[in-house]
Symmetry: C2
Subunit: 316 residues, 2 copies
Amino acid sequence: MGNDPTMRELGEFAVIDRVVADRRQPATVEVGPGDDAAVISVPDGRVAVSTDMLVEGRHFLLHWSTPHDIGRKAIAQNAADIEAMGGRPSAYVVGFGAPSDTPARHAAELSDGMWEEAAKTGAGIVGGDLVSSPHWVVSVTVLGDLGGRAPVRRDGARPGAVVAVVGELGRSAAGFSLWDKNIGGFKELRRQHLVPEPPYGQGRVAAEAGAIAMTDVSDGLVADLGHIARASGVAVDLSLAALAADHDALTQAGQAVGADPWDWVLGGGEDHALVACFTGMPPAGWRVIGQVVDGPAEVWVDGRNWTGSVGWESFS
Amino acid sequence: MGNDPTMRELGEFAVIDRVVADRRQPATVEVGPGDDAAVISVPDGRVAVSTDMLVEGRHFLLHWSTPHDIGRKAIAQNAADIEAMGGRPSAYVVGFGAPSDTPARHAAELSDGMWEEAAKTGAGIVGGDLVSSPHWVVSVTVLGDLGGRAPVRRDGARPGAVVAVVGELGRSAAGFSLWDKNIGGFKELRRQHLVPEPPYGQGRVAAEAGAIAMTDVSDGLVADLGHIARASGVAVDLSLAALAADHDALTQAGQAVGADPWDWVLGGGEDHALVACFTGMPPAGWRVIGQVVDGPAEVWVDGRNWTGSVGWESFS
């Protein structure tokens, strides 16, 4: 066994010991890692739960992302699902599969990235499973706390409400194109593709401000608002003028890769912005980008169907 | 698109619709599948949580197990982790990765198996993630309810306590050998390898009877009791005589494959029996198989170290 032992050389239990050591769990964790299950206190009497699976080659590439990046992204996208219900994360559990010849330090780096991102959300990683797999698979489940508020669902949108967003749009998709076409520069956009920056805390803010429907932008703005439109039985009309700043921030990158920035703003997912519907004005920091109207359950852009790229589909 | 469409042909959202349709969620599910997160009521004010990842080729083979079998096994082994804390499952979330050319009905069959097993535990599947992956990966997270009782941990064993077990030992390992050596007959053992039968409800029974430490047999009896011995700082001494019936039930299979049944009984995992320590007599249905004694944190068999096969290791 050399200076950089593999998972096989170090062994499952030694790797787990290394990943778990010296982590500071929040006070809500009654039983942490190392038993058959963890136990978390949930004073709300309800728990929100969501899960995401990231597969090497499909959701990340090991020659683009470091293990630390992958850990941050996996936690961030799960946290965003709890934000989108108006809650905040309480705890995460993680399944990690990797080949036996993976350096064990990669598991430690993945875990460090996860803990760094989890700490931003005020929660810890309370358990997991470490297995051998022909390629990397990272599966995160997040538990969340609604703080006594009703969950903000996708089916509450009503005509007359405004549609507002907080967080970035199109950045991750622009970054992906830059990576994909191997175009240098645009460091921040390339970074935002690897590690999204969800607007932590704004889910609770929206819920307290009376949001009637909310989701995070994981598949693409038009695609995700389509989920709200269908669940609520309403039409959503977006305004290009209101999204001009998002578009303009990507003009240079669009020219560099020969793409239309509107495809990124309207069709690009993975930034994990929050988009919500409010019957009154949205909270500070949110920008109005459209309105909920009577009509078929679909998303329009300036009153028309959008014909560009609409979003991510797992098996396409 | 033919009569047996693939995941790619049907598409992520249509497959999810098919998997989610007509499922009856327990009353504790406030928000089920279809939103950013599910919401479960947890009147206990605490939630137990555990996760397991199963990888094709490592934890199951598609030419041994049907998708339905894999679904049942994935739920069963997660449920056993909650049983091992003295709780009962409240809800499951599932991540499923498979190649794009997988028949979509396989996802439905996997889901049917999961629901069949979940129903035995009194819980439903409240959310999930469906992704494209070069090979099958099934990741299950279980949430559990402790019913107001303290969790039964691994670190509570004390000298003088008896060690008792409920459920099967060595059956799954025997079944694996039969499959592996392609030996016919022994239908029940082969079946028990594909779909374990944890003793549902006995975790709560043990907790109510005052169990001071408990785990489920997932890695192997000696290996899993080793976790209790190390967490508690005690020695565990098993009695071969007390395990004779478990051994004798596997004599014929042992002869058929040329294996020592003791390796299966003491070293074989995946049956998800429950093994617990009690200061008094164990509950009805549990059988005493050893005792907790003063000594180094290890597991003995009739006072000696066991030199046979000791258990599963992920990267071996």
